[in-house]
Assembly symmetry: C2
DNA sequence: CTGTATCCACAATGATACTG
DNA sequence: CAGTATCATTGTGGATACAG
């Protein structure tokens, strides 16, 4: 059961979601969980072709929040390494739980979607009515 | 440590995030976790003044995914009740874990942000985070 | 009361070019 | 290689009017 002592303050759930709800933050955490990676490595590792701009923004935000540590080697050419902090690693646990849930229930969700789409096919005015790809 | 067997397929984390990453889905799950609620009740219960449009869209998506059950009473005036399904309740645990993490580490994150902002306010960066320049 | 359809504002993302 | 700046595009959310 979820308790909200301060509904006006959005009870803390929003906090975590805002931090992970963007398109790439989770992937950065995931790809950094095995260990340190350089900027370019991170970019290549993340699925979906993240742009330099978005990787920079995402990684900066995570650094600001203390989830990621950024180490600059003032060499030529430049070399920057990223790694999870303690805080970041504590999140990894949670992200994994989320992934596990998603994987475990994906079939059920796919079935539900298919059923919903079938039941609403006659009206045909709902939003994204597409079959899943799982 | 998070394993991704199919990096190209976005390894399942994206799935869960896409489902909860929008602005309101989590709140619907939270407010429904104590029990059944009507449309208007849900709208009033959710912090942040969700519009009819967004509540409808959010609730429809959750229904399609099988997280929420929608019951229509063909009366006048209409009455529609929403409740979590088994699947939805299984998510509740996860959402709570997320909230707990957020609450537990909020001070640390706030401190990190303050430090980051201070270090980047004037353009100067007295970061001790660097290695040798070899 | 519940829900749909339109129009509009803004934030997030992506593509590209340029700099150190 | 790493990062910034700019511009175009998209998606998401909000306000409102209308319908069952």
């Amino acid at each position: 059961m979820i308790e909200c002592e301060t509904p006006q303050d959005e009870c803390g759930v929003r906090d975590a979601l805002d931090r992970l709800g963007d398109k790439w933050s989770v992937y950065v955490v995931v790809e950094l969980s095995p260990g340190t990676k350089r900027f370019k490595e991170l970019q290549r590792a993340i699925p979906g072709n993240i742009s330099q701009r978005m990787l920079t923004l995402t990684v900066r935000r995570l650094e600001r929040d203390g989830l990621v540590k950024r180490t600059v080697y003032p060499t030529v050419p430049p070399k920057v390494e990223y790694e999870l902090t303690e805080l970041g690693r504590s999140l990894t646990h949670l992200v994994k739980a989320l992934a596990d849930w998603s994987i475990a229930h994906r079939p059920a969700i796919a079935a539900s979607r298919a059923a919903w789409d079938a039941a609403h096919a006659d009206g045909a005015h709902a939003d994204g009515a597409h079959a899943d790809g799982a």
